[in-house]
Amino acid sequence: MNTPFYKYGAFGDETSLVVAFVIGIGFGFFLERAGFGSARKLVSQFYLNDLAVFKVMFTAIVTAMLGTTYLAWMGVLDLSLVYLTPTVLWPQLVGGLVLGIGFVIGGYCPGTSVASVATGRLDGLAFVLGLPVGTLLFAEAFPWIRGFYENGSVGVQTLPGVFDLPYGLVVFAVVLMALGGFAGASWIEKKFQPR
């Protein structure tokens, strides 16, 4: 069995849109199950009284990472055919900071805001309406910020590549870091319980 199925031509572009919708259903379902349709729940991560964002996100990262690693190891999944966004250091660092600022002001991120609208939040709807405005501002500013947008471009780059370490060792380190983080998260939550 050779995967990714789509990259091996198991189905075409039209079918891939159906797959997109079905995978999206799974994504939205678990976001809402976790409570991520709620801005209060999401921002609690940054006030340290509920670290569900960290727990859910890192459990998901570890689950998918172990899955891809084992499937690649068994020869089922060709990791080189999985799309990776190229690394462009400076805009990704600054863009990340801007994303974090928008997150704590707005209370959602782009994905979770869709779950919030689906569960009736009007503030989530306001957030969603703000999204295209920010994108339009970026697009109109693009001719002037293009130099910075490309600054620090190093192509597709993984952590094992950057640190020149075996893939499996970095996977192991991320698992250990996550487990340590989960233990730390429970301790922090107890310390920062709202009175």
Binding site: P4, F5, Y6, A20, G24, G26, F27, G28, F29, A34, A39, K41, V43, F46, V56, M57, V62, A64, G67, L77, L79, L81, Y83, L84, T85, L89, G95, G96, L97, L99, G100, I101, G102, F103, V104, I105, G106, G107, Y108, C109, P110, G111, V117, A118, T119, L122, G124, A126, F127, G130, L131, V133, G134, T135, F138, A139, P143, L159, Y167, V174
Partner: protein
């Protein structure tokens, strides 16, 4: 008047919340964060194995904005390198994109989860000290800010932090750490929004 009809029309609590019930049953508690994380991770893994790509959200907004600008001012959109990428060669409709269909799925999946757990409520999530109007303005600004940051970082919490994080993509880890950094740095200054 039945109790259900009454909760449909009466604001909750002291009325400041402007929260109205759509579903009369008590909302179910959220899922254990580690279980939700495993579910989310398996959905992400399925996307890697089936499609050879991960999850996303902000890319759908980019496609939407490219379509709107492309419809209103075709020449302007084509001359903009950022938008032109989402318009392609013109043979495929800009909205016929993988992420657009995935995001529609996110809405459907979150609605399904919310309905099953009696969590669909028309509401404005906010602290008691801010007006609903101010909260909506903050959510709108947060959405615009995050879309700008996502365009700069080439992805948001879904495409970079979650997807790229699990693939050990170097730029994604930079973006992820910057998101947390930016959010924690500003959190203290916008706490009044929630208490």
């Amino acid at each position: 008047m039945s109790p259900t009809a009454q909760t449909l029309n009466e604001p909750w609590g002291d009325g400041r919340d402007a929260t109205r019930a759509v579903d009369a049953a008590a909302p179910a508690p959220y899922m254990n964060p580690y279980l939700a994380g495993i579910g989310l991770g398996l959905v992400l893994l399925a996307a890697f194995v089936i499609m050879g790509r991960g999850l996303g959200a902000s890319g759908a907004v980019n496609a939407f904005v490219a379509w709107v600008v492309g419809s209103l001012a075709p020449a302007h959109a084509q001359s903009n390198a950022f938008l032109a990428e989402y318009l392609g060669d013109g043979t495929t409709h800009p909205l016929k994109a993988w992420l657009v269909f995935e995001v529609l799925g996110v809405f459907a999946g979150a609605l399904l989860s919310g309905l099953l757990a009696h969590r669909v409520r028309v509401s404005v999530e906010k602290g008691p000290r801010v007006s609903a109007g101010l909260r909506l303005a903050l959510a709108f600004s947060g959405g615009a800010t995050m879309a700008f940051g996502a365009a700069l970082a080439r992805g948001c919490t879904s495409g970079q932090a979650l997807t790229g994080g699990s693939m050990l993509n170097a730029g994604s880890w930079v973006t992820m750490l910057a998101i947390f950094g930016g959010a924690y740095a500003l959190a203290y200054f916008v706490k009044w929004q929630w208490r």
